[in-house]
Point group: C2
Chain length 288, copies 2
Amino acid sequence: MDKRKIFFVICFATGIHCNPLFPYDLVDLTRNLGPDSIYYPTLGGYEKVIELKGSKEFGHWVYSNVLKMTEHVGTHMDAPSHFNKVGWNMHQIPINKMVGPGVIVNVKEKARNNPDYRISLNDIKEWEEKYGKIPDGAMLIMNSGWDVKYPDKYSVYGTKNMSDRTSFHHPGWHEDTISWIISNRHILFIGTDAPSFDYGQSTTFPVHILTSRENICGLENVANLDRIPPSGSIISAAGMKTVEGSGGPLRLYAMVPNSDANNSAVTIGTSNVLLVVICLTLLIKLQN
Amino acid sequence: MDKRKIFFVICFATGIHCNPLFPYDLVDLTRNLGPDSIYYPTLGGYEKVIELKGSKEFGHWVYSNVLKMTEHVGTHMDAPSHFNKVGWNMHQIPINKMVGPGVIVNVKEKARNNPDYRISLNDIKEWEEKYGKIPDGAMLIMNSGWDVKYPDKYSVYGTKNMSDRTSFHHPGWHEDTISWIISNRHILFIGTDAPSFDYGQSTTFPVHILTSRENICGLENVANLDRIPPSGSIISAAGMKTVEGSGGPLRLYAMVPNSDANNSAVTIGTSNVLLVVICLTLLIKLQN
């Protein structure tokens, strides 16, 4: 092989990197928003009223509605102002505080026979042992298996008496766990597939109070958590920019690195291995 | 240099690639949603009613509202069902049809002295000459400079008589341009910084009709388009998942490849150049 040939082989090897613009698959984490949507029973519900439907005015099909709903319905987010008088309202949350690495803590086994289960510090330590330290800016979400009960409100709240909130039973986060996380890690959102990240038996909402104080936002009634990995996704929780809003339904989704991303990494790895092999072959060949 | 030293140098050179998980900066393209928000004058407006504000019930600050609004207010999206009886409603739009490459067509100069300007096929050809073919799944958005008029509705609609829609003047897309795009390119969304992607003088809404027929969604009152590049961003337009919804306000944002992405590319490039230099140096040294 002459010098020129070798040079072209090396150029070829360095040129096979690929760089996809957006190497993620998208997973919808959102429930349908409609009259069946779950909301906290002491708040108002959801209503959609037809505003225009048909062709009278425009000579062509036009259809629109008026929405009337509590901000806290269905798959929705809590702004910090929901439980903190001086916390961010919806329009004050910077967009870069609404997107971050997904950390999904699976406690389905523990919650199955204990609807009052609260995520312990041990659950967090176990997650970190498997997947590494919770990354900065994480979207920390509990997967309790509660999504299969949705939208049967009696099953979701674990009660036959929706007007007695002391009868509610569903899992949540423990306030001691959240205190430790606030002191030792940096998260943007705390979330759950259940209707509240404070467990059903709580009437004082310590987790809401602790997180709101730190301008950490909330996610409730999250769907499809089994469809994303415990670590490695990016979660988009971009809520409406409502002036003085305390929360709102949103289209929540996860970006999961896809085969393009893997191919890209593999290709980079392969081409570098190829370069090393070429270099070593050259060395051996030319030294002999 | 002995073989082992050379081997370690090569390993070091191949090891300095970086692979950031999410190499984008986020740019908010959303207006505040409130009583000043622009909406089509024949539709209803926006209202927010306090539901809970204070500490009476819970012994701690709790705050929430009921929102009452037309689906077509502020920075919002149109579902295809808005102008197509059998088009997708909000809950039927797959999440992967709501995120795609941003294509921003700047016609600010042309619209400055002509509020009835409509984007021509020539404008599209000029964009493609500069930035390449419109990518598949594009979010195609007009930057007409109209955002500086927001939220003064008289200025946005170019009229003193909001009840006479034949007096409206603002730029839009030309139906011939959209017909060509539908036949020759593949886009997910059509958008504008003005209040409608049909220009103000239209009373028949041909662009809405053409796009809705193809299940192409719409974006209106888009903000901050000057802050993202004409090409190369990814736009997230994830609307509420309203059952039978015709549209809705959303938190629209762009992901713009950032310095991490550039650094990553630069690092990969640098390390490969380094490898090539090492290989050629070896060749020359060892052949002499």
